[in-house]
Symmetry: none
Subunit: 232 residues, 4 copies
């Protein structure tokens, strides 16, 4: 009986979390408008009125999700600075990990939610920018700059590499979520190898051409003192 009490209390404390989870799931599956408050409550195992005990409106649910930055439901790029190893390998590791994490999880659904609801929830633009794009940009650009500094990469605009590597991942997530198995033969989107090949392709493009090495290195310094917004 005590245990049951404890269990119940624990459940009660967890209600908001469970409701948010249920809401996120249904928002992802059906979109914000089509997700019925009653269904969200039901999925969380409570009645519709209970939902309104914890959140003032359906909009509030989404705002809470945004404020919580979709709490760990989206795989974030690892920020630990692993200084060891070649920059090529670092880039490989970070992007492969991130890509497969995103492809496995609910990222596609969240991205879709962001795209469809940003009109009504400006907070989503912030989320998108600060939680998705910027961290990825920073991490990737950081490695690129490091690679340039160490002479492993040609001197290129780091943003270009971000553009080349991150954007395709985003589309692939969206595509995977939206199309699911509708277009099973779409090699462009679904093949996991394609991305790794793409990664190698970009890495190759980053590698200094043997004879050009001499002129590449000096330029790298210009990336150390970022005069613009997009530095690491």
């Amino acid at each position: 009986m005590l245990e049951r009490g404890d269990a119940c209390r624990r459940r009660k404390q967890a209600r908001p979390r469970e409701l948010l989870d249920a809401a996120l799931g249904l928002f992802i599956e059906k979109g914000f408008a089509a997700a019925r408050a009653e269904d969200i409550a039901a999925r969380a195992g409570v009645s519709k009125a209970t939902l309104y005990l914890h959140f003032r409106s359906k909009e509030d649910l989404l705002k809470a999700l945004i404020a919580e930055r979709f709490a760990s439901r989206i795989a974030t790029v690892s920020h630990e600075t692993t200084d060891a190893g070649a920059s090529h390998d670092l880039l490989r590791e970070v992007l492969t990990t991130w890509q497969s994490a995103l492809m496995e999880g609910h990222a596609g659904g969240i991205f879709k939610l962001v795209l469809t609801e940003v009109h009504n929830f400006p907070g989503l633009a912030d989320f998108w920018s600060h939680e998705v794009v910027e961290p990825a940009r920073r991490r990737v650009a950081g490695i690129v700059v490091r690679g340039i500094d160490r002479g492993e990469f040609r001197p290129v605009d780091p943003d270009l590499v971000v553009h080349a590597l991150v954007l395709p991942i985003l589309i692939m997530c969206l595509h995977r979520h939206a199309m699911g198995s509708s277009v099973p033969d779409d090699a462009l989107m679904n093949a996991p190898d394609l991305f790794s090949h793409h990664l190698e392709f970009v890495l190759e493009g980053l590698t200094p051409h043997p004879p050009a090495r001499a002129l590449a290195t000096p330029a790298s310094s210009s990336y150390e003192c970022g005069e613009s917004r997009s530095r690491v």
Copy 2:
């Protein structure tokens, strides 16, 4: 009275077209669910009941739009085979044209519509695949194959190039449509040069190394005196 009859008849014939235009516009602006039948009719200049005279339901409107392949509202890649000139230039021309056409027009809205409604309207998967992805893939891959055959490009999987060049465009369109001016300083998405630099970056990666050096497009030299933030 005859004239009026004529005028009326002409208008009447045009009704479905006007309704489809109105529907597409509102679907793009507000999404399928949030676009009210009454608003669609109003935008087409007719009454709500008239809409149902021409289409059996709101879903029918979208199905008709899909069946019509969104009638020319989306810029299609030009398929004329221009055999003249370097493959580098061909690729540049095709992709630049396509990208700017998509960024100008309503492509972002249509892409979003596809993503959000494909689970209710399987026809959208076909549209997406056959009208957007495949033509672009075919055109770009064709040029790549040609370039490889002519020794202008290194031998690579053509899909890799498609992946590298087409996917970023799609995301940029979506981003532009959804975020609009919410994230005005997002260099990764909004900068128009970034894509052309990205294009050059990929083209460089395609160029065979030792002998093709001299051919490297003039643009590549600009990498040394980048006057803008996104230079290489």
Copy 3:
């Protein structure tokens, strides 16, 4: 068929009127909050949605009623200036008519509505003041002033007479509406004679005492040039 068409169209034009009537009836019977939109519509012979075709909200219904000043549902004091006859008789006629009209009709319900909803609908205070209190005050005070001028009444503050004659009527209306037959033996409120006796009682108080006549008349002039707000 034509006739039926006509009839129908006439009915359609009349919908707002019918809805307002139904709304007023239910507001009077149950109060604003307890009157269900569906019941209002049903009483008007239409569906709930039709109500919202003509009025944007339930509040709008009441606002429309207020704006229409409860359109003739409340008996207004007759404003024709009947100069013939003794002022005593004039006062008798006007007040008796008004009182019985109010007691018969829905005045009690409207007064109650005003009292209960004036918090949420400030327009009701205006209605109360401009449509109920002021006209009655003006009419009664006008007669009193006339009577004073003609030497038929003692010089008294006309507002005092208004106070003495109008206020009891208001309470009697409210009482009649609210209590109905709950307190059938309440001679103070329900007896119609009581009011006419009260009227006579006040009239008597207005009549100059025979010997005091001389000093009464001169004072009357001070009521001719109303220096204050409450003149006729």
Copy 4:
């Protein structure tokens, strides 16, 4: 612990009282329907569930209030028979006291509550009749009869005087409560002198004509040098 127990027990005994007070306050402020059970409990400093521990329903709260005759919240006319002094003065004292007590306190709110809820709570009709109307009637009529007996008043139906003096007070209370400051310039309702002048006016009507002239209360002389708008 004992002390706490004592304190608690004392508080617990007081719970119903506190709840009733809170309920009455909110019923007066917002009306029965708009007063939420939760707010009542909160105002009493307990939780919503505790309210239902003491009262079976929200209706029960009002019934208890009615049964308790709104416990001293409404000013009752003093029933001590003060036989000393002129009947004019007695009437003046009783009515002035009662009126100002009612205007100060919550009488208006309670009257409104009675009017709006009597159809759901027949007990309110009894309250109204036995606690408000009848005591006032009895007291005032008693004085009138005494005055007639002593030759101070003309022989009139005592109810007539009750009607003339009590009814206006009721409306003024209602008006004050409902309109508050919405119609600040309403001299008919808000002016405090108006009632006392009205009282004098009625007293004058009660005074026997020829012989009683000299007795006319000193206040009556003030009618000749009215310094305010509402003089006679």
